[in-house]
């Protein structure tokens, strides 16, 4: 079982901004389509390890980005077994 964490954005613009901001940072991340289990919207999400998500979120918010939601997805094989919306703690 693997777990990945995702950050979603209110508009594509913020997703692109996040990618360019994080490029020069030591975080391991990937821009992916928002997983279908999280939302029916067709935007772009940022996927990263769950151990780093707090640091990534704080870095992005510190740089003035608007975020929409944080999620943790547990995947067994090819199936998503659970989706958990994480607290924002703004």
């Amino acid at each position: 079982m693997t777990a990945n964490c995702y950050i979603t954005f209110p508009t594509t613009f913020f997703a692109i901004k996040a990618e360019s901001l994080l490029k020069n940072q030591p975080f391991v991340f990937k821009m992916v389509p928002v997983p279908r289990r999280i939302s029916s919207s067709c935007g772009t999400a940022l996927r990263c390890g769950c151990e780093e998500i707090t640091a990534v979120r704080e870095y992005l918010m510190h740089n003035g980005l608007e975020l929409e939601g944080l999620y943790r997805l547990e995947e067994i094989g090819l199936q998503v077994s659970s989706v958990e919306e994480l607290q924002f703690n703004e």
């Binding site: 508009t11 594509t12 613009f13 692109i16 901001l21 389509p33 029916s40 067709c42």
Partner: protein, 352 residues
Amino acid sequence: MRDRLFIIIAGGIVGLLALILVLFGNPANMGFCIACFIRDTAGGLGLHRSVVVQYLRPEIIGLVLGAFIIALHGREFKSTAGSSPVIRFILGMLMMVGALIFLGCPLRMILRLAGGDWNALVGLPGYVLGIWLGTQFLKRGYTLGRSQEQTPVNGFAGPFFAVVFLILLVTAPAFIFFSAEGPGSMHAPLIISLGAGLLVGVLAQRTRLCTMGAIRDLILFKDYHLFLGLAAIFVVVLIGNLITGKLIPGFEGQPVAHTESLWNFLGMTVVGFAAVLAGGCPLRQLILTGEGQGDALITVVGMFCGAAFMHNFGLAASPASVSPAGQAIVIISLVLLFIIGTANIRTRTKAK
């Protein structure tokens, strides 16, 4: 991934349904064409009087209702609106301008391509260019702003109109127009068209199929997830046309198409550009309307007005040619899109 397989299967089913609809009476290479069908529906309502393209297309009704039902079922129906409605209305109009110069929405472009219509091969790079132009604005901070949650009645408006159209289609009162000849008179039986629309509405809502998103994600993030859906549509329709002997390669004499390459190219550039700025291709706008998004509904209303505008003023292309006025409106549309793109670049974020 399971999602990958699902979008490929969904694309395949959309392709299959497009073939079936043509088999049962829809115009050639027009199993589905969101722009054409909205134009026909606008004609059916009498918003324009081009007598050969008037029919309340059940596919449009089905797409909205299919997405609505499955969104309700999946608890994804959400009534939202308020993200630059006026701009979205104009973007809807402009998408229709481009589509009625090319003679098809991006979905029909794929179907035309799979039917051997090389004019669509000219339209495709135009579409990609339009999407690329749009992404340049996205990268620079273009956004129409966040939408807000609204009372449920806002979200029900789209599906409500779809039901009203269905009632008008079935009861056929005197004020509803039905083409006696031309593309508007060619259609599959109501139940098949409606069923196909409903099914595609469900599939597109579940998979988020979008002809613009497919190419935008490739350009922006090298992500090919949505693109797989388009590829599946193309492959299935291509094979189907091969089997039924409907693959007729060439530029000349293609059904409901003209051979003016420059305008095929630029028409689709307008559609792609407008679709990025509006956040979805014509198909996706219908699906989002079913999900309760008022912003998508206003874009669809813009498309209806765009269709009426193009036909009432003689701007829409015909299989014979693109009129000088039609050519002018394409250039004006591109200028408008650059203005809309530039004017909506917001720099309120502190991000550098």
